[in-house]
Structure formats: C-alpha cells, structure tokens
Symmetry: C2
Subunit: 212 residues, 2 copies
C-alpha cells in the first residue's frame, strides 16, 4: 500500500471513530483520548491529520455536504428535491452523515460552531431556487433566500422528529409529507405536476449516482 | 410561609436548577450532584420531589406544554397559530422553556425518552385542526394527523436553525416565513385572509393571557 493511500485510510478511520464518539457522547463530553482508543492510532497520527477536536468535528459536519451534488435535471425544482431525498437516503444508511446531523442539531454544543451546515445547505438550495426562478418554475412572490431557509430549517426538524419517534424508519414518509405541504407555496402547479417527490426517490438517485 | 408554599418553591428551585444544568451539560453528562449544588437543597429534598434524574428531565420537558392553552378564537386555525406564536415568544423569554426544547432536540440523549413533547404537540395541534376542519376552515384533502406532524416537525427545525444562527433573535421572522409557506396548503384562502401570523403575535397573546 502506497504511503498516500495509507494516510487517506488513517484519516478516514480517525473520522469514523470521531463520528462514533461524538454520536455516543456528544461534542462536549467527547475527548481526544476516546477517539484515539476507538480509532486505534497514535496521538501523533491524529494530530498530523487534525490539529484539534474542533477541526475534527468540523470535518464530520462537512460529511453531509457530499449530498449537495446531484445529477443535473431540466427542472431545477427537481434538483432541490433530489438533494433533500438523497440526504434522506444517506441519513438512513450512512453513519457518518448521521453523526454530522446529530452534531448540527446538538443545541448543547455551545462551543462548536454549528452555523456552517445550516448556511451551506441554505446557500446550495438558494442557488438552485434562483435558477428555478430564472427558468420560470417558481411562483412570482418567492424570495429564494427566505424559501431556502424555510426548506432547510423545516427539514432539520422533520428529521429530528423522525429520529426521536422511529430512529429514521419513517423519514421518507415524513419528508414526502413536508414537501407536499411546502412545494405548492413555492412552485407553479404545472411544474409541480412532473416533480417526483416519492419516498424512494433518494434511493433511486443514489443508485443512479453509483452507476454513473 | 406555609409548609405547602415552601414545598412548591423548593420544587420550582430544583426544576430551575435542573433546567440550567441540563442546558449547560446535556442530559447525559448532568449529575444529581450538579443539580443539588445549583439548587442549594439537600439530597433528601430533591429525592422527595423527584425520584430520579429521568423524572426531573421529564418535568423540565413538560414545561413547554403550558403553551398549549391559548384563548378560544372563532377560527381554530388562529388557535393553532397562537400556540405556535406563544411558544415562540416564551422560547425567547423563558429559560425553562428553552431548556425543555433543548432537551427535546438533544439527539445524543439516547437514554431519555424525547418522544413525549413531539407527540403532545402533535396531539394538541391535530385536535385543533380537526375542529378547524369540522368548521370548514381547511382545504378538503388535509389529513389533520399528517399536517400536525408536519407543523410540529418543521417548527422544531426552524427554532433549531434560529438558535444556531441568531440565539433566537430572528425566530419570529422565521416562524412567520414558515407559516406563510405551510398555511396555504392547509387552510382555505378566505379563512387565511383573516388569520394573524405577524411576528409579534406571540407577545400579544402572552399579554392578553396575563391580563385575563
């Protein structure tokens, strides 16, 4: 195994260990010693990759950003939906994404800057909504900045409720219901008629991206 | 001071101390010793009122339920809005409500049953939506159980985003935006035209209840 490949693998192991420890203990209570024990690496190796606990947490938080890139669609509204649905799928299936979301929603981690994920999600969504607007997909009164914040904020709560009530088992159903309530206030009915918001949309987009 | 009055005051002091400690340390890391130190009461007094840390947390969680009772209105949609707006006001002004919401949203507190607040909020909202439907205020396709879950879940996330980005300063503006996106999919336009969803609605309902 080449040195570079080994470094990438070590880095990934440390992140997975950190994600698990943050998940189990919360950001505040988690220690570097816990993460070292879980990752099975030396202190030197950890600090080579991540100078502090905060930088580690920020890297874990960033794991959810991979859901931003979805295939191009003629309808930009569909891209907004696909980002939400792909994230829903990965929240159910990827422990790193789960850890990232829990850190984001941890209102007790006051020392950790949790604003990044909210802002990034909102920026990515706003950009797509602006394109959707330019293409004439949106209702005339929509302000993309306001609407993207509503989408991101409301999604964050629906996933939290689904986590508390069913450990994410009912998440696709709840996300579908949320979109049925929000999209008619955002998108023209004629556009909405051909947007796919089915609960299994995320799994299909994920498969499409793996195949590509 | 009568013995009963003293007991009520002690109980309240313990709850306030517990709320502060849960807020600062999270449910998992908080200890009975921390709460005793903060409340300045004896172990015996604490266990007289609350048999366990879990019971204490459940009482703190229940603090948000006081927002369920709002004055009767001819429009039941307005009552749903008033519950949301009163809660928004108290989230900005009452440390106990803040602590209750943080505990509810603490996805790391896996030993704590956080399902109660989600279910209670949804039940109270569903009941009012059913009445609104019976009075002909709602669009014909609305399922009160589904819509109440969407309202409660999306609100939970919007408050979390507002907490992360502005320590709740922008909460009334965000809640107003959320309601403008959701209500047109729930309520008849002719009803919606006379529903008050202004950002200062919560403060006004609160003042009205204090005066009564």
């Amino acid at each position: 195994m080449a040195a570079q490949e080994r470094a990438i693998r070590t880095r990934h192991n440390i992140m997975l260990a950190a994600a698990t420890v943050f998940n189990e203990r919360g950001y505040k209570a988690a220690t570097i010693a816990d993460i070292l024990a879980k990752a099975g690496v030396t202190k030197g190796a950890l600090y080579f990759h991540f100078p502090s606990k905060d930088e580690l947490a920020q890297e874990v938080l960033a794991a959810q950003n991979r859901d931003f890139s979805v295939p191009d669609r003629p309808s930009k509204t569909q891209e907004v939906v696909d980002i939400v649905m792909l994230h829903t799928h990965r929240l159910q299936s990827d422990p790193m994404v789960r850890a990232a979301v829990r850190l984001t929603m941890d209102q007790l981690s006051t020392e950790l800057d949790r604003t990044g994920p909210f802002r990034q999600w909102s920026d990515v969504t706003r950009e797509r909504l602006e394109k959707a607007g330019a293409q004439g997909e949106l209702l005339p009164h929509v302000l993309p900045g306001e609407t993207s914040d509503v989408l991101v904020g409301s999604y964050a709560g629906v996933q939290s409720m689904s986590h508390a009530l069913s450990e994410y088992q009912d998440l696709p159903v709840r996300v579908n219901a949320l979109l049925r309530h929000l999209l008619p206030s955002i998108v023209l009915p004629s556009v909405l008629a051909s947007v796919d918001i089915a609960g299994d949309r995320g799994a299909r987009v994920h498969a499409e991206m793996l195949a590509a």
